[in-house]
Symmetry: C2
DNA sequence: GGCTCTGTTAACCCGAAGAATCACAACACG
DNA sequence: CGTGTTGTGATTCTTCGGGTTAACAGAGCC
């Protein structure tokens, strides 16, 4: 059972690493064999035999298989660890190159810097939202109010970020959905105030509204990030809206909504 | 000057991360802008204006850009660090999944284990060859003979591997091309014997033979790896041949060639 | 030595995905 | 109220990858 599912999963993943379908299939076929001929590979992988050679050759030049030039030729996949290491390293190098190239990119600046009062931006994807969350946590000066709708969002790096913020004097308030989670969070953040949120809004308002609030972050009462989960949609996972600026409408609303339980923050208006 | 080259490099790299051409172009365009409308993006990126929307939307769901739903819509790229982190993380997760899926793959074992006497395998790509080199170094019991044709192949991880081998009692012999490199290597491997190789074979034999030997590794006198560089070929970089087994023809030849300067190894035939 | 069969390479065909264009509705603005 | 701009959808064109077939070479057999 794990056979076929892992098989297909491997093929798909390999393709996401830039391999063509035949290359991916050939590689997993060879991974299951100590070594094999074109014929054997063709039978297992359902690649037309005459095309096994091309696929295997490009795999060889990627360092993923070895070829024995006999007749018939023998093919052999490198070990799983060797293969994944090779791939991982390739993509780390690419990330580095990309960082470099994008960084030294000439800015075509037309200063369209309008006031941020009414700007509300949307972004999607847990990865991107997490990244933005981290940025907000790291740049907070005075106060962080964070409510997690899903405990899985309470990750290690986030804890570290909150601890660091706490360490530099930021007031950290964390809301959770259940007391069980509250206890766990409180355990990891002893100096923070951790509470169980009363918010009904974690579940949808109308019956056919199955959106759930994922996270909710108010930083220095001047930046707000709210994310939701839409389970029904096949494509989109986590969606978020994001606003910045003390006078921003969304921020104002969030501030009001959260006013209950917030102690007055000294000199609220002087932040940039 | 760095403008256009880095621009194109970014686009290409982004595409290697799975983005479509329009998505890649749109992202770099937005990276050069604090924020922009479809029209602006279209002008900078040379994407037809009507297709900017699709591209940006999928970028948004990848967490790479933010959208402001006003009229006209405003688009904004996340910071370079946010973007590269997001991408890197995505590929690290994929690597992990792949390792897992490939690892738990049911082996369709037909025991085709012939003797390795005459098997000579070829593999290409510096990454794969490096990986195989490491494996050989790590699994060596008694002796390692290594000759590097190119100093750039003498990397940190390789040094560590050699030191570890040395530490567990393996005799390590390293050959270099110049005395300068010899000194450097000797410095990092005090207990190893480092020598300047006399080998003429590092440069081609015939005039039109511009292949250069990259590395040459004999492990326990029972496994050999020889790699060469072919500078003229546009596609292939480093190529290698690889043989295993004490009786392997290639290994035998290598052993003979290297016999000069090798002290007799006790009980050479008893290794499997 | 000729013949056949298998292994290997290469060329070709076709369909899907993506790039480019167009047509049109909605909206903002004067 | 009309004109230009903005956003969405449908349509054509091109490219690339998957699939098939043919040609070639070599080994073994008769």
């Amino acid at each position: 059972m794990t056979d076929s599912s892992d098989h297909d999963r491997s093929v798909t993943l390999l393709q996401e690493f830039g391999l063509k379908e035949y290359e991916a299939k050939a590689f997993v076929a060879l991974t299951r064999l100590p070594s094999g001929t074109a014929k054997q590979v063709s039978e297992i992988s359902e690649i037309p035999r005459t095309r096994v050679y091309d696929a295997v050759r490009t795999l060889e030049s990627d360092g993923l298989v070895e070829i024995q030039h006999s007749s018939p030729q023998q093919f052999r996949a490198v070990s799983v660890t060797e293969a994944t290491n090779t791939l991982q390293q390739a993509y780390e190098e690419r990330t580095e190159s990309l960082r470099e190239a994008l960084g030294s990119l000439g800015r075509a600046n037309r200063e369209t810097e309008s006031d941020t009062t009414h700007e509300v931006w949307s972004l999607s994807g847990t990865a991107g939202i997490t990244s933005r969350t981290r940025e907000l946590v790291e740049s907070a000066d005075r106060e962080l109010v964070l409510v997690l709708g899903d405990p899985s969002l309470f990750t290690g790096p986030l804890v570290e970020g909150l601890q660091a913020a706490d360490g530099r004097g930021v007031t950290v308030l964390v809301g959770t959905t259940t007391d069980r989670i509250r206890a766990r969070v409180q355990d990891e953040l002893p100096t923070a105030e951790v509470f169980v949120s009363e918010l009904d809004w974690l579940s949808g308002v109308s019956p056919d509204d199955d959106t759930e609030i994922g996270r909710l972050l108010l930083a220095d009462r001047s930046a707000i990030l709210v994310s939701t989960f839409h389970p029904q949609a096949t494509d989109r996972q986590e969606q978020a809206v994001f606003g910045r600026g003390f006078d921003n409408g969304l921020v104002t609303v969030a501030r009001r909504l959260m006013a209950t339980g917030l102690s007055p923050m000294e000199d609220p208006g002087s932040s940039d």
